[in-house]
């Protein structure tokens, strides 16, 4: 069982570059999420999706874009990378019901210099 798979695991970007963080899940979950984690700050929701073709902003969406063309995939796009986007990014998925846990991917550690 693969669960939630994120690629790449590590990436270093220069200021102003762009990149896409990939996330795919094989559990047929409708709901998918992108969180970022900064030291001592917990997990902050960037964007989420309740199904293919539907996305919405979370707490910290500025500087990011997402798309959801299939149930399985939920890529996160960084345009014009900034040092403030240095963080660990986690993708997660769930069935979205009140008693559904979140299943997290292993994360992508991004450094912008």
């Amino acid at each position: 069982n693969a669960g939630v798979t994120q690629t790449p695991k590590f990436r270093i970007l220069k200021i102003g570059q762009s990149m896409t963080l990939q996330c795919t899940q094989d559990m047929n979950h409708n709901y998918m999420y992108w969180y970022r984690q900064d030291p001592g700050m917990g997990l902050k929701l960037i964007y989420y999706s309740v199904g293919a073709g539907i996305t919405d902003k979370g707490e910290v969406p500025n500087g990011y874009n997402v798309s959801r063309s299939t149930t399985e995939d939920f890529p996160l796009r960084l345009e014009l990378a900034a040092p403030s986007q240095t963080s660990v990014y986690f993708c997660a998925s769930s069935y979205g019901t009140i008693n559904s846990p979140l299943h997290f991917g292993n994360g992508t550690r991004l450094t912008v210099t």
């Binding site: 709901y31 917990g42 997990l43 929701l45 009140i98």
Partner: protein, 113 residues
């Protein structure tokens, strides 16, 4: 509206007990608990639902006080494997959960031999 966790950090000897609290300023319908080991993804422990019973996972249990808008995680007879950072997550929406969680900043638990 980020839930507040206390304490921020705790150090235990093997076999000792600990309590981690999670408080919210708004009405809660559910509280999630996750554990994250260093360099790894958060892992689901349990969900507490409004009106539900106290949950348990191995020697880890939790309670949910709806009136106080608070949940507590109880770690009994701690083991070395319990070390990590514990996060509570509360739903962002109103009413039922869409798995759209706001996480606390975490409580770092260190269990020493």
């Amino acid at each position: 509206q980020q839930p507040v966790q206390s304490p921020q950090a705790v150090i235990l000897r093997e076999g000792e007990d600990a309590v981690i609290n999670c408080s919210s300023s708004k009405a809660l319908y559910s509280v999630h608990w996750y554990r994250q080991k260093h360099g790894e993804a958060p892992v689901f422990l349990m969900i507490l639902l409004k009106g539900g019973e106290q949950k348990g996972h191995e020697k880890i249990s939790a309670s949910f006080n709806e009136k106080k808008q608070q949940s507590s995680l109880y770690l009994t007879a701690s083991q070395l494997s319990y070390s990590g950072t514990y996060f509570c997550g509360t739903e962002r929406g109103y009413g039922g959960s869409q798995g759209n969680l706001i996480f606390g900043k975490g409580t770092k638990l260190s269990v020493k031999p």
